[in-house]
Symmetry: D2
Subunit: 283 residues, 4 copies
C-alpha cells in the first residue's frame, strides 16, 4: 500500500533526503518485546561505514523513538522512529531542478509529481530513506532472534569477485552480523574493497550480489495464493533502490535443471509418519 508495507506487522516510511527527517512507523509488534537502542544504533552505523567506502556525504545516524516503547519494552502500540537529517549540502543539487540524471528518479519523479517533488538529494527516492528501514528492522530482527530465527547476509559477489559459499550457516550468520564488511572470506573481501575504491577513483561504481540465509523458520509460514514468503520478500527487496533481481534457492540456475534434480530434498525423520521416502518421481 504505497507508503506502508505489511499487514499484521507493517512498516510506514516517510521523509525526503534533505527534508527535516525520515520517519519509520513500525506497527503491530506485540507488547513486551525488549528494545535495545544500542543495537539499533549499531545497525545504523553498519549501514553507513565510517571508512573510505562511502558516499561523499556523511549522514548522521542519531535517532529518536517517539512512541511505542516504554521502559525499554514495546507497548503494543505503533512505534515511531525519527532520524533527523543533518549535514546536508543543499547547494549541490541546484542543477537537478532542471537536469535529470540517468539511473535516478529525477525524470520519472518529474513526470509523476509535475515539478512539486523535493528534488534535493533524490528527495523521497534517495537511498537515504533506507535508514528508516534499518532502524525498524533492528527491532524486528531482535524480536525474531528471541524466537530462534536468525538472518545473515554476505556479499556473494562484488565487481565480479566471488565470496565463498555458506558451509556452516548457523555459526557463519553470527559472524557476519559482527563484521562491518559482510563477507565469509576476508581475502575476497579485501579484493572487493580494492575494486570499489578503484572504481570510485574513476568517479564510477560497481555492482554486486547479496546472499541472505534465514534459519529457524518453521514449516508452513507464508500464505497462499498471493502472500508466500517469496512473494513478500521479493516485494520488499525490489523496493530498495538499485535492486534489479531476486532469486530463491538455485534461482535462475533451475532453468538448466531437470525436475528430478531440482526438487527440495526432504530430511527424513523416522517419527514423522506422514512423510515417507518416495521411490518414483512425481508426475
Amino acid at each position: 500500500m504505497k507508503d506502508t508495507f505489511g499487514q499484521s506487522v507493517s512498516l510506514t516510511l516517510t521523509g525526503e533526503s534533505h527534508g527535516a527527517g525520515i520517519v519509520a512507523v513500525l506497527s503491530g509488534m506485540a507488547p513486551g518485546i525488549p528494545v535495545d537502542e544500542d543495537f539499533i544504533a549499531a545497525r545504523l552505523t553498519k549501514r553507513r561505514p565510517a571508512g573510505a567506502i562511502s558516499t561523499a556525504r556523511q549522514e548522521g545516524d542519531k535517532f529518536e523513538i517517539l512512541s511505542g516503547v516504554f521502559n525499554g519494552f514495546t507497548t503494543g502500540t505503533p512505534i515511531t522512529i525519527l532520524i533527523r537529517n543533518e549535514n546536508t549540502q543543499s547547494r549541490d543539487y541546484s542543477e537537478i531542478a532542471v537536469t535529470a540524471r540517468p539511473g535516478h528518479a529525477d525524470y520519472t519523479a518529474q513526470c509523476k509529481y509535475h515539478g512539486f517533488q523535493d528534488y534535493r538529494g533524490g528527495g523521497h527516492f534517495s537511498g537515504r530513506i533506507t535508514a528508516g528501514i534499518v532502524a525498524a528492522g533492528a527491532i524486528c530482527t531482535a524480536a525474531l532472534a528471541k524466537k530462534g530465527i536468525k538472518i545473515g547476509t554476505h556479499i556473494a559477489e562484488c565487481a565480479g569477485i566471488p565470496d565463498r559459499k555458506f558451509c556452516d550457516i548457523e555459526n557463519e550468520i553470527d559472524s557476519l552480523n559482527e563484521k562491518l564488511f559482510a563477507v565469509l572470506d576476508d581475502e575476497a573481501g579485501a579484493k572487493m574493497e580494492e575494486a570499489i575504491l578503484a572504481a570510485k577513483n574513476e568517479q564510477d561504481s560497481v555492482g554486486g550480489i547479496l546472499e541472505t540465509a534465514i534459519t529457524g523458520v518453521p514449516a508452513g509460514i507464508g500464505e497462499p495464493y498471493f502472500d508466500s514468503i517469496e512473494s513478500r520478500l521479493a516485494h520488499f527487496l525490489f523496493s530498495i533502490p538499485a535492486v534489479k533481481g531476486v532469486e530463491f534457492g538455485a534461482g535462475f540456475g533451475f532453468a538448466k535443471m531437470r525436475g528430478s534434480e531440482a526438487n527440495d530434498p526432504f530430511r527424513i525423520d523416522e517419527t514423522e509418519k506422514f512423510l515417507q521416502k518416495r521411490t518414483t518421481t512425481a508426475a
Copy 2:
C-alpha cells in the same frame, strides 16, 4: 492480502484442483470496458495446449461469468468468473494422503493446515488455480491494449536451448500473442519441444526462463516507497508455483557492470526542456 492481490484493481482467487471449481473475482475495473468472451476462451486454451506437450490430465476450460458484465461491457461492479473442474481422477491421489512429494506443497500444507487441506491434485496449491488468473488476465490485457499498452512473453530459454532476443518489440509482441508455443525463433522452439518430450518420456521435466516485454507504459507509473512496478510484478510472479527468480532489465547481469555502463540511456527529445544531456557521471 493472502487470497487477494491488488488495491484499486484486485484479483481474488479461490478453488481447489479437485473441488467444484475455481473462482476469480476481478474487482475495481471501470464501467464500460468491452468484454470479449471468445478472447478469454482463446487465452484459456493457450494455457492448456491440446498437443502432446501437456500433463496427463485434460482440464476443461469452460468458464462462466457470474457477475460484473452486462450486455458485453463491464458494469464497474466486481466481475466473478467460475471455471468448473471436470475430468478429475480423484483416485490417483489417495497415496498423497500419507505421502509428501518433493517439490510440492504436500508437506508444508500438512504443517500449515494440519491434515484438513484438500490434498487431491495439489488442492489449492496446484498450478490449475492459474486458470483463474488467465481468465481475469484476459479481461485486463484487453483493457490495457485499448490504452496502448501491449504485453508479450516468449520462452527465452528452455532445457538450456536459447530463443533469439527481441529486436522489433512492437511487432514481435503481436506475433507472440498469436502463437501457441511462444518463441521468436521457431527453429529454437522446435528444439525446445523435442527436449520437453524427451524428458517427459523419462518421466521427468525441464526448466526454463520466460522474458516479457511491455510497451506503451507512461513514465511515472508505480508508487514509492513500497509499490514500484518491479515490486508489484515480482510479488505477483512469485505467487505462480515454480517461479524461483525474477529480474528486470539486465537483472543479475548488472552485478558485473560498472555504474557508468548500467544506467538507463535517455532518449533526448528536444522539446523536453527538463531533460538535458549530462556530460559528467553522477556521484
Copy 3:
C-alpha cells in the same frame, strides 16, 4: 476495500440481483472448523420468510460451496459460496432503465457507472446481495459459538411498536435464534406483523430498530486507533442497504447524561488486584 471487508478474516461479495448469482468469498478461516450446511440453509430461510411478510419476489435460497470445505471441515483456504439467482422477473424493471426511484441507487449508480450498471432489480445494490452475507455469516457464527461467543438480535421497535428489553441475555439469545420473527415479547411481535401488513396493503412500508447482544467476548478485543469493535461493526452495518443509524450501549441516550452516570460499571472481582473500586470521579 470496496468489495472486500476485513483483514485476517475477510468477506468478498459479488453479484447482481438478476445476474447469474451471488458469490461470497470467506477468507482466513482457520482449518478444521466444522461446516454445517443445514445450518447455513436454515439461516438463508430465516432471511426470506415464507409467510406473507415478504417482498413479492421469491428468491431461491439454494447455495453451493465451491471451495474451502472438505469432508465437512474448513480447509484453511478461501471458502466460496455460490447462490444462483432464480425466479427473476426481468420484465418488471424495463422502466428503470430510464427512471430513477427515490430511496434506491438507480440515480447514483447512473452517475457513477454511466449507464453500464446492471439496473435490473437494483443490480449489485439490491438487498438480495445480503444473501451472501447471511451464508458466510452462518459459518462464522457457528465458529464463534464454539469459542463461547453468542450473537442474538431482536426487533427492538417496528412501526413505533416496542419490544420488551433483554433481561436474561444468555437464554434469550438462544430463543431468538430459534424464532422466525425475532422478538422477545410475542404479543408485541404480533402487533408488529399487523402493522407491516397494513402498510403493505397500502403499498407502503415501515421502519424499525434492531438490537443485538453479543456475549462471551473477552476483554481487549479491538485495535486502536482505527479498528475498535465499534468502528468495525458500524462500518459493516452501514453497508447493509437501509441502515441509517448505529449506536452502542446507551448510544444517543448518552447525550443527556452526566459523565458520572455514563460510565461502564465495573464488576469487582476480588482476585483482580489491578482493578480497585475508586471513590472519586475521574477528572
Copy 4:
C-alpha cells in the same frame, strides 16, 4: 488497518499522551496542493480552547511538518506531522498503574497489553491523540474546499440544550468555521457553556450531539458493497474516543416513518432525461 485508516488517501496515527509526541502520516495526497501552516495552527487552537471550557492540562499545539511539503506545496509523497508533547504532569497518573478508571481504556488496555502499555495520561488511547487528526484534517479540508466541498459542524445539543437547525447551510458552514464555540444560535451556545461549567464545578461532565453538514459532494461518491460514504465516515467517527452513536439524515428518526415519507426527495432538473418524477410508490 489498525493504526492506518484509508486507502488511496490514508492517515496513520501514533503517539502516547505523555510520550515524546504524536505523529500523523497523511499519505496519498496529490502533488501541488498548497499547505497553509497558519490554517493548521488555527485548527489546532480551535481544538483546545484557551478559555475556561477546557481540561486542566494545557496541551501545547506547536507542530512541525517533517516531510511531504516543499516550498509550501504537497510533494505527492507522504506528509508527516509531529506534535511534541509538552507540559505533562506525569506524577498525576501514578495511581493508574494499579487502578482502572471507569469509562477509560485503563482496564481493557491492561487485558490487551499485559501491563506493557504506557498508562500515563491514557497513553495511546487518550483524546490527546486527536491532535494528529486535526492537523492532518486541516490539510484535507483545505484541499476539499478547492474542489468546492465544504464541511461544517455545530453542537446540535449539549447537556440537553438544543441548538437551532441549519436553514442556510452554505453560509452557515462558513460562519461555524469562524467561531470558537460552534453553534448556530449564540444564545443557546451561552446556555451550553453555563451547563458545561456548572458540571465542571461538580467535577462532572456533560454529553452532547454534533451535527455535520457537507456540501458540494458530487453524486456517485462511495464504493459498494463495503465502502459507502456512510460506512467510511462511521468507521472513522467511532474511532474518536467517546463517540457512541452515528446517524445519517433522519437517522433513528426513520424508525417511526413510513417508506413513503422516508425517501430522499429528488430535485427535478428538466435537462436530466434519465430522472423522471414517479407517480406511484416503489414496491
